[in-house]
């Protein structure tokens, strides 16, 4: 078990643990070396079932040969429209082993979006999760002349459905088995077909404005990043990881799937997105990467549980957490932790903190990694106070994942760490924009050479669009997205994400969009956390019926006002948030206002709720 003041166990591994210059080569070397070791786990009918490397290899080979039997040629693209599940990984590895290009599509995307992504990527084979996703594919296929086959992973409810274009995954595997027998030696040719410089995967960036853009990554960059990750977030065959973020997103695709295939870390799949809290406790991951929203959820669940516990438990929790904060303050300031404090901390862990960790499911975690969105420094401090190192990584689709990572032995909450050893990061001297250079920088956007030229300059620097600062130790700090910076009517530069992150730390706020560009004062649109606000209303006898009435209850509005006042105090020197509105419909990932990772899209919110925004500036 790591402790905050001694992180030697987290020292980077610079040696290559699994050879291979392409993803298939790395995977097949893994199958040969690890054979009967456990590679993945999934839950079936309530029981965790393991998949060995050998077993997974056999399935991948069958699917890959099935694709070949369908005339899927090296260099062609196959898309996967499914939520994060074991078959996603099998299909992905099979596409790559067949020499193809693999592209993920979010299961929350609408049929029109699916059609666009298949068109843009020239998809010839489409894997869909189940009948729900199949219906999207069927309504899009009339416009997809290149599409040859739709492969359904889960055939439940489709046994009587027959369509020459649709087949089940099991049928594909059978086809692959027969094809493999008929064409001995073909598979080995296929899996060795690709070179490191060849296109491997497409990751579409969720465009907040305009159509999504397909970022191209080659095998070399992916393998390079697997090696690189092990230098900063070390893991090995004894580690357990939980896969639950969308695999279409670079964070889970690279940091979860490929990195774990490289290190032999066991991949555990959640049952579905709703069972994440239960699954974390069952799996107890040892390295755990998640987005701030997930960390916020855990935090607010603990806060609520503490407020419902008895006085003694509350006192113990507060005391232990106080000790935890003292320890983390010492550690983050780079000072030694005195012996008495260490002793107190062990008592605190025994009294309360270990239980909190067990309640979340991070009791075995050596390290927590947060990324993909800005996180409130207070939230990082809270996890540090529990005694688990939480390191922030910053990167983007175009940098193939993390480009800066906080070192575990020198955590500075609120910063994103120095440049990772595997790439260069610097500030643009004029615009303060963060620039990244290295083999991990993407090949460009598919079909969009002008956009690519705008993003990668002639010296090979990737323009990330994030502006920030750097301190004397080389640690970067992001102030905001370049295009999001607000200049108020008074001429002050405001970085909305700083405010938004502070607001999101409140258990009652899920997400917020701060408005104020060319305005007299700041205002904010808030999406409430239904569960916690419901509970607040219930505890304070606030009558409400549905979601809308909850967002209109005066007591709820007063509570949110208190949260805003508290945040305003922290920013006393600059402008204040003077008005706010709550979104009165409950948004889901299917809604256009949210990205698939459930973040509010600023531009979209500004447009759709312009009337609401105007109402905040009418005196």
């Amino acid at each position: 078990m790591t402790v905050l003041w001694d992180t030697t166990a987290l020292k980077g591994q610079y040696e290559v643990v699994m050879p291979g210059d392409t993803i298939p080569e790395m995977f097949w070397n893994g199958v040969a070396a690890r054979g009967d070791q456990l590679m993945m786990r999934e839950k079936q009918f309530g029981i965790w079932q393991g998949w060995s490397w050998k077993q997974s290899g056999a399935a991948v080979r069958e699917i890959a040969m099935g694709l070949s039997a369908l005339d899927f040629a090296p260099g062609q693209c196959a898309s996967i429209l499914a939520s994060t599940r074991l078959e996603w990984v099998l299909a992905d590895l099979a596409v790559l082993s067949a020499g193809g290009v693999s592209n993920g599509i979010y299961p929350t995307d609408a049929a029109a979006q699916v059609q666009y992504l298949c068109e843009d990527s020239s998809t010839v084979i489409l894997f869909v999760e189940d009948e729900e996703q199949l219906d999207k594919a069927l309504s899009a296929r009339a416009h997809l002349p290149l599409l040859r086959k739709i492969v359904v992973i889960d055939m439940d409810g489709l046994s009587r459905y027959s369509d020459p274009m649709v087949m089940g995954l099991d049928a594909l595997r059978e086809l692959g088995r027969a094809h493999d027998l008929a064409k001995p030696g073909l598979f080995d040719l296929l899996r060795k077909n690709r070179r490191p410089e060849d296109l491997a995967i497409l990751i579409y960036t969720s465009g907040t404005t305009g159509k999504p853009k397909g970022a191209m990554h080659n095998h070399g960059a992916l393998v390079y990043m697997c090696h690189g990750y092990n230098q900063v977030i070390v893991q090995d065959e004894h580690d357990e990881r939980m896969l639950f973020l969308p695999l279409c997103h670079v964070a889970e695709r690279l940091g979860g799937q490929y990195f774990s295939i490289y290190t032999g870390t066991i991949l555990n799949f959640v049952e579905n997105p709703d069972t994440v809290p239960e699954n974390v406790r069952e799996i107890a991951p040892t390295t755990f990467t998640a987005v701030p929203r997930v960390w916020e959820k855990f935090y607010s669940a603990v806060t609520i549980a503490i407020s419902e516990s008895d006085r003694l438990q509350q006192v113990m929790y507060r005391w232990a957490l106080g000790i935890g904060y003292k320890v983390s303050d010492k550690v983050t300031q780079g000072q030694p932790v005195p012996l008495w404090l260490k002793a107190c901390f062990y008592i605190g862990r025994w009294l309360a903190l270990d239980n909190v960790r067990r309640m979340i499911g991070i009791h075995k975690a050596k390290v927590l990694v947060t990324g993909a969105a800005p996180i409130s420094p207070d939230l990082v401090r809270w996890y540090l106070a529990l005694g688990v190192p939480m390191i922030e990584a910053w990167g983007m689709t175009e940098s193939c994942g993390a480009a800066t990572v906080m070192p575990a032995h020198r955590i500075k909450a609120g910063l994103i760490g120095p440049a990772a050893p595997f790439n260069e990061v610097r500030l643009d001297p004029v615009t303060q924009e963060l620039l990244v250079r290295g083999p991990n920088v993407f090949m460009g956007y598919l079909n969009l050479p002008e956009k690519t030229a705008e993003t990668i300059d002639t010296d090979g620097w990737l323009h990330t669009g994030d502006v920030g600062t750097v301190d004397d130790e080389g640690f970067f700090r992001i102030t905001d997205r370049m295009k999001d910076i607000i200049i108020t009517a008074g001429g002050k530069n405001i970085t909305p994400s700083e405010w938004e992150n502070e607001l999101k730390f409140s258990p009652y706020v899920t997400d917020a969009v701060v408005i104020g560009d060319r305005r007299a004062y700041l205002s904010v649109i808030i999406m409430i956390d239904l569960e916690n606000v419901e509970k607040f209303a219930q505890d304070h006898d606030v009558p409400f019926s549905n979601y809308a009435s909850l967002t209109r209850a005066p007591e709820v509005l007063a509570r949110i006002q208190d949260e805003i006042d508290a945040v305003n105090k922290k920013f006393a020197r600059v402008e204040q948030i003077k008005q706010f509105r709550l979104l009165d419909t409950q948004l889901t990932a299917e809604d256009d206002e949210l990205t698939p990772t459930m973040k509010l899209k600023r531009k979209f919110v500004e447009q759709k709720y312009s009337a609401m925004i105007e109402s905040m500036y009418r005196s």
């Binding site: 009948e131 419909t585 409950q586 889901t588």
Partner: protein
């Protein structure tokens, strides 16, 4: 939508059976003269809501107001005297008493004999079959007739509000229709306010003026029934109407959003 004063008001009511919370903060208002309905799937907490109103279950939290008076956790008999009658799920007539005696049991709390006799005639007017068989044991009646008797028994208490718990339970479509017609007639002629719990959402939305949708112990939607009938989620999940997708035999369900 209505200007009549609220007759019944529930504020953040929570009721539980032991550790299981059946309703988790229900707030609703029924106005005088309305027929209001509560829709919801099995176990949503519909019956518990009615039982909490009529005092059979004491809520953990929240309050129930009837005609401006707080009746939370009051003895059920006192609530009946204030003009609130409950027709329980599954009729619950007294099987070994005659129909007439059953009706008189409904008027047990009343002292005005003339009034009781008048109401008895009125009830026989609504349901002539009860008059024909007045002397028989109630247990010998058919299910539909028992339901008529249960409603009549509630009317005998001269209530301002009747809570009706699944009047269509176990009845043929024809009988269900008849019973609902009478319910509407009682409401129109006597001005009795009704709070109706129903599984048959189509029927309930047709007769009622205002509807609440209850899901796992919480109200997720409320509106006039005309408006409710147009909501996508109501259409798909309560009225069984769904647009045909790209393929026949669609099994998957949309997520409910309740907007």
């Amino acid at each position: 939508m209505t200007t009549t004063p609220p007759l019944l008001k529930m504020l953040n009511v929570e009721s539980a059976y032991g550790p299981i919370r059946a309703i988790r903060g229900v707030s609703l208002t029924v106005h005088t003269g309305q027929i209001a309905t509560i829709l919801g799937s099995n176990g949503a907490g519909k019956t518990t809501t009615l039982k909490t109103i009529s005092g059979i279950i004491d809520p953990r939290k929240g309050s129930v107001e009837f005609k401006g008076e707080n009746i939370t956790a009051m003895d059920p008999s006192l609530i009946v005297q204030r003009g609130l009658a409950h027709v329980p799920e599954g009729r619950e007539v007294f099987p070994l008493l005659s129909i007439k005696d059953n009706l008189l049991m409904g008027a047990y709390t009343r002292a005005d004999r003339d009034g009781v006799a008048r109401d008895m005639e009125a009830v026989y007017g609504y349901f002539p079959i009860l008059k024909e068989r007045a002397a028989q044991d109630a247990g010998l009646l058919s299910g539909g007739q028992q339901q008529m008797l249960a409603i009549s028994r509630a009317l005998m208490a001269q209530p301002d509000l009747i809570l009706l718990d699944e009047p269509s339970l176990g009845l043929s479509p024809k009988l269900t229709k008849e019973i609902f017609e009478i319910v509407v007639r009682i409401n129109r002629e006597r001005g009795t306010t009704m709070l109706l719990v129903e599984q048959n959402a189509n029927m309930a939305l047709n007769v009622a003026d205002y509807g609440f949708v209850l899901e796992s112990g919480r109200i997720v939607m409320e509106d006039t029934c005309a408006a409710l009938r147009e909501k996508d989620d109501i259409k798909e999940f309560y009225l069984g109407m769904k647009e045909d997708g790209a393929r026949a035999d669609r099994r998957w369900k949309k997520k409910k959003t309740w907007r």
